[in-house]
């Protein structure tokens, strides 16, 4: 290329530098692109794990002082295995239940109830058929496992005795 031969030293140096610079920029762009592609490829299969990992973690406390009102910062606190803000048992499946079952009604409707897996299954089906509950996909099985395990019926016979633990005894003065 005849023009090159006519370049003076200064021009040549500037040209080389420009070439080097643009090469460096190009390389960084390629590197970035690679990281992005690898990231996306990794993210897809691990999506829910990553999201779970990014979401706030409940603080597990071992000491109980259930009478005390937690303030807003303690909102993800777990005491005695119970997630305070929702009253749900903090156990595998909790996140799925919190995410899907506290949207329409409070979790109190869940924690009040006891049923077998089949009974829970019927309740979910009823809500899907009549109350607008969405398709839970693979989470359905996890939610059912959780409910059947932690909100299972307890045998109590034809009629339970008065719950003496619950009675607040008081002195009644009579004439």
């Amino acid at each position: 290329m005849p023009n090159h031969q006519h370049m003076d030293e200064q021009q040549k140096e500037a040209y080389d530098k420009a070439l080097r610079d643009s090469f460096r920029v190009l390389m960084s762009a390629i590197k970035l692109l690679l990281i992005l592609v690898v990231g996306i490829l990794l993210y897809i299969p691990l999506k829910s794990d990553i999201q779970q990992w990014l979401s706030p973690k409940p603080v597990v406390k071992t000491v109980s002082n259930s009478g005390v009102q937690p303030n807003e910062e303690d909102f993800d606190k777990v005491e005695n295995g119970v997630h305070l803000a929702t009253g749900l048992k903090f156990a595998p499946g909790f996140e799925d239940v919190r995410a899907n079952c506290t949207v329409c009604h409070s979790a109190a409707l869940v924690t009040q109830n006891r049923a077998t897996r089949e009974g829970w299954d019927q309740m979910l089906t009823w809500m899907q058929e009549t109350q607008g509950l969405w398709d839970l996909g693979p989470k359905r099985a996890r939610i059912l496992d959780y409910l059947a395990e932690y909100y299972a019926p307890e045998a109590q016979g034809r009629r339970a005795s008065l719950d003496l633990q619950e009675i607040e005894w008081y002195i009644l003065d009579l004439e």
Binding site: S55, E72, E95, T102, A108, G132, L172
Partner: protein
Amino acid sequence: MQNKIPLSRRHFLRQTTLTTMGFALGAPIVFGHFMPKGLTPVALSNGASFDSLPGKRPEMIVLNERPVNAETPPHLLNDVLTPKDLFFVRNNGLPPRRDEINADTWTIRFDGEALRTEKSFTLAELKAQFKHYTYQLTLECGGNGRKEFNPPAKGNQWGLGAVGCAAWTGVRLKDVLNAIGLKSNAVYIGYYGKDMHLSGDPDKNPISRGVPMSKALEEESLIAWAMNGEDLPLLNGYPVRLVFGGWPASCSGKWLERISIRNKVHDGAKMVGQSYRVPCKPVAPGSKVEDKDMCIIESMPVKSLITYPKSGAQIKAGKQLPINGHAWAGDLEVAKVEYSIDFGATWQACQLKPPANRLAWQQFNASVSFPQKGYYEVWAKAIDSNGQAQPMLLPGWNPKGYLNNACHRIAIKVA
């Protein structure tokens, strides 16, 4: 049991509802794209909000904040007329907001296959055009007492206090229907209210029930705007509701906007399937019952509640314990109330007052003496005018846990 939310937690729940919601919505909801439109804003804007029990006393036992479901502790039901701020709340959806309601322009539409012409009345027109009546009418949730059923029954786990009796003022439904003109094929009335479905879907009704014409046309069946002489509380249906004493309270539609006169049994939300129905034939506990074998609950069964003293009284030996309470029997009258201090082995008669009017609860009282020191339970048993008595154990098991009218029991220590 964790099925009660004491007041201390209520404040906390209220405070965190929004945050919980925010998190719930931000958390990964797989298949969340199937959520109906409008759900998110509703959930956030209406999330049991921040005074979820307006006009109610803090002693109310809250079973659920969204939707609001709260019952009265039995010892606070001691008044002949249940005060407004102690009357139980069973909401199926989200009530209209107070500032959305204009009682002056509130309109009730009458329509349906079995009405001559469609017609609308404003509340003011109803008040001006028809004679007013006041009746003391007992309302009890069909699921009152559900928590005792075993195997457990689905829904809010009501204890004893989803019942009350108030003086309701309004016009007779029959006067209004006769003025509009019923057709001979009328079978059932179905109501629609202004409450919103929990999903926020405007095309869904949280509840739309009703009663057969025979009940609708009774003298005591009211379109009511007042409770104990004052406006209805918001949570009990302000500005206007139906009241059908003695039947499951879910028949008595709140925030009443529309009444359909049907030529068949009304088929609105929670009229069908298993809601407010029991097996037509008795079933073994835990049985699965097909929808077609479930029958609609009509008149509620005979029942009573000891409202004084509160369970847990410790008294001195040798003293007489006065007890009193209410008894009611659906469409019927209560004929007798008895009490037992020996777990049902022997029964003593209580004094019983006649009802103020048909379908009002009746007051009973007795003076109880105890043979020696020790732990006692005082049980009360009412018997209706057909000779039906309350059972001591649970009555027939049913999948949704309705109609538990087992005897009320209070614990007493004599020391």
